[in-house]
């Protein structure tokens, strides 16, 4: 497991580059066991759920096409979304980056809290966007307590831990650990766990229900993410299982939804696709227990004050790259994680980002810049399983290869000298199709890289929530051990 001692929840300070992080994850037998059990189980369920749909491939094709249409005309759809949310009584805000989004939320929470400075609390439903921007920490710094209400997020939050899977963030914890966390920590933040709490999952879920009920019934402000937003109506969709989402979306007076700009879809009718693709790919269910759709404000029902924050935070950088931009189609189903042979053995923490697994390997370097996540594009065997599983047909292997070239280029630019990797990559652009030759090329590059990495300049400290990352990482020298070499050495682990 990674060293949790100095993380602030936003970025994972002190996370080593992928190969080292992966090595320590591999040494953790229990983590590996939990992961294997989880990924194997979800994989089988997903295959059942997708296999029973005779026209599954047509759904994927249409999903990919809708996302392509949206991406190519993103400004158009965002303006339409804004107009329709506003017409329905909501307020739309735009945030260029994490800091701005956090400031907007903070201001809205204060306004919605009725001015009682001493009692600023919000309930939250799981949202990757708010993890990405480090919202909980920003709110804490402003004296506002955010309560995560998704069971897994609660486990992670009480355990002062990091999520390790998009869908099952506490996949690295077993029931005995969860019992211990609940017994020790719940009392610090509200209703304590029952004294006779067992590690039966039913009892643990019941403890969470009781612990959070009081928060739901008294919360005045809730914060959510969004799975989809329909431009033509202004309708937002949140897909969930436990009912904590419904609680957050229904009971408070103020609702603040933080949404990446890539989550917009052209029309309400398009939800017919994504409400089929997402649950079957994600939890392997025909449908998740609860999906909430709402449009602005409904008098007499639910929050009467609704705010939608449209977040850029690097997404427009991803958009610039004609190959890389397809990663913006991601609907965060986590299917690619569960089929990935690398993820199955290393777990999510090794990726050092809120976005783990294959999608993280292509998204994080693009959102944060390839210099800051240079080892991630190499965290794959290019086996293609992620592409086959992806419900919106993102060609992750293609983006990985593309980003590897960019990593090499970035290093060459930094040094104004061809790096050994650059030379190897140049000579071997066709080699990328051949796993055997790639291994040789990478090893050669790494061997050379060790000799020359002393020349590499340390990049300056980067601002914003990702700053911590660069503060503790040098511009990564070429991985000492190429990913493939590491993979070969470690794969006897089974």
């Amino acid at each position: 497991m990674t060293d949790d001692s100095d993380h602030d929840g936003r970025v994972w300070l002190g996370t080593p580059a992928f190969p080292e992080a992966a090595r320590s994850a591999l040494a953790d037998t229990r983590l590996r066991h939990n992961l294997r059990h989880a990924t194997t189980t979800i994989r089988a369920k997903r295959l059942d759920a997708t296999g029973e749909v005779p026209h599954w491939e047509e759904l994927r094709e249409a999903g990919a096409a809708i996302k392509r249409r949206t991406t190519r005309h993103l400004a158009h759809y965002l303006e339409q979304l804004e107009a329709n949310v506003t017409a329905a009584g909501g307020t739309v805000h735009w945030a260029t980056d994490a800091a701005e989004a956090n400031r907007i939320v903070e201001r809205l929470v204060r306004a919605g809290g009725g001015g009682e400075a001493e009692r600023h609390e919000v309930v939250k439903v799981k949202s990757m966007a708010t993890q990405e921007i480090g919202l909980n920490e920003a709110l804490a710094a402003a004296g506002i307590t955010a309560y995560e209400t998704d069971l897994a997020e609660l486990i992670v939050q009480l355990g002062q831990d990091r999520p390790s899977h998009i869908l099952v963030p506490a996949i690295h914890r077993n029931r005995a650990e969860i019992r211990e966390i609940f017994a020790e920590r719940m009392g610090e933040r509200g209703r304590a766990a029952p004294a006779d709490l067992t590690d039966d999952p039913k009892a643990l879920a019941e403890a969470a229900r009781l612990h959070l009920r009081e928060k739901f019934l008294t919360a005045r402000v809730a914060i959510s993410g969004a799975n989809f937003a329909a431009a033509d109506t202004g309708t937002i969709a949140v897909v969930e299982s436990e009912g904590n989402g419904r609680m957050c979306l229904t009971l408070p007076e103020t609702l603040i939804t933080v949404m990446g700009i890539e989550k917009v879809v052209p029309s309400f009718a398009d939800l017919e696709l994504f409400l089929q693709l997402l649950p079957r790919s994600s939890t392997g269910e025909r449908m998740n227990p609860y999906t909430s759709l709402w449009t602005g404000v409904t008098p007499g029902d639910g929050p009467q004050d609704f705010h939608l924050i449209l977040l850029d935070n690097g997404r427009t950088d991803v958009l610039k790259d004609t190959v890389g931009r397809q990663a913006l189609a991601c609907i965060r189903c986590s299917a690619c994680l569960n089929v990935c042979p690398v993820y199955e053995r290393t777990g999510g923490h090794a990726y050092g980002s809120v976005y783990p697994g294959p999608i993280g390997a292509v998204l994080t370097p693009q959102l944060a810049g390839v210099r800051r996540a240079a080892s991630l594009p190499f965290a794959s065997t290019l086996c293609g399983a992620c592409y086959d599983a992806c419900p919106v047909k993102i060609d992750i292997p293609e983006i990985l290869v593309h980003l590897r070239a960019k990593v090499v280029e970035a290093k060459r630019d930094d040094r104004a000298l061809p790096t050994p990797e650059a030379l190897a990559m140049k000579a071997a652009s066709t080699v990328l199709d051949s796993p055997g030759l790639l291994g040789v090329a990478q090893r050669a590059a790494a061997a050379g890289g060790r000799l020359t990495s002393g020349r590499g300049g340390r990049i300056r400290r980067l601002p914003g929530p990702l700053g911590g990352w660069s503060a503790t990482r040098d511009t990564p020298p070429p991985p000492r051990e190429s990913f493939r070499a590491w993979w070969r050495e470690n794969r006897e682990e089974r």
């Binding site: 329905a88 735009w94 260029t96 980056d97 800091a99 077993n174 969860i178 025909r286 958009l319 610039k320």
Partner: protein, 247 residues
């Protein structure tokens, strides 16, 4: 709020060439940020031809044909049951008795009845019936055992009921806070699949798709029914002609 210092501004740090107003956006007004984000998007998409319209990007809709077996009622019942919800088929004449039996079986003493719920379904139960006008407080709702609702539409393929807060359904909190939800669905309301259901829904009403009871698999992937939403879901399926007569 007004701190626009360069050190704290990733916008200023990133690709100044493409976003001339980036430094202004860091601590400034949202109106500026709107312009910045939209300008960045347009700049990033320079490769998209100016005369391309969204519809030029074709979307194959071949998935829209229905490929399900004919008996949607049987399929719906089976798929709801797969979620460990209880499905009871009944005839229109027998709804009141079925509702009474289910409430009795669950030990329900006080039940929320939204405005517009058919009174003829309530003639047999002994439970206390509690209305929602004026609106019940969340505390009051939390003290009640069950909520009765009708539905807007149902989906056979996924075993889903959809509530749209219309007559007989009440506002969203009603079907959320009490621990037991009993929903009466008429067979004619069952759409074969998700596209069929969505086509009949009004996006300007709050919509809740319910597929079985609240559940989690967050602990070692073991499914547990009932976390924050109702732990028990009963569906009374009202079928006029006995459609389940054939195999």
């Amino acid at each position: 709020m007004k701190s626009g210092s360069k050190e704290n501004s990733p916008a200023a740090d990133r690709s100044e060439a493409d976003c001339p107003a980036g430094d202004r956006a860091a601590g400034g007004a949202t109106a500026d940020s709107r312009a910045v984000v939209l300008a960045r998007i347009r700049a990033a998409l320079r490769d998209v031809p100016a005369d391309e319209s969204p519809e030029d990007v074709s979307v194959p809709r071949t998935y829209r044909r229905t490929v399900l077996p004919g008996d949607t009622v049987a399929l719906f019942a089976a798929r709801v049951a797969d979620y460990r919800a209880t499905v009871v088929r009944t005839s229109p004449e027998d709804v009141a008795r079925t509702v009474a039996v289910l409430l009795e079986r669950r030990g329900v003493r006080r039940v929320v009845v939204p405005d517009g719920f058919p009174p003829e379904f309530l003639t047999r139960t002994d439970a206390d019936l509690v209305g929602d006008s004026p609106p019940l407080s969340v505390r009051q709702l939390d003290s009640l055992d069950c909520t009765l609702t009708t539905a807007a539409v149902a989906i056979a393929e996924t075993g889903t009921i959809v509530l749209d807060t219309g007559p007989g359904q009440g506002r969203r909190a009603l079907s959320l806070i009490p621990d037991h939800h009993l929903c009466v669905v008429r067979a004619e309301q069952i759409a074969p699949d998700v596209p069929g259901a969505l086509a009949g829904l009004d996006p300007h009403r709050p919509l809740t798709f319910v597929s079985g009871p609240s559940a989690t698999s967050d602990i070692e992937l073991q499914r547990v029914e009932g976390v924050h939403g109702p732990r028990t879901l009963d569906v009374v399926l009202v079928v006029t002609a006995p459609s389940g007569a054939h195999p």
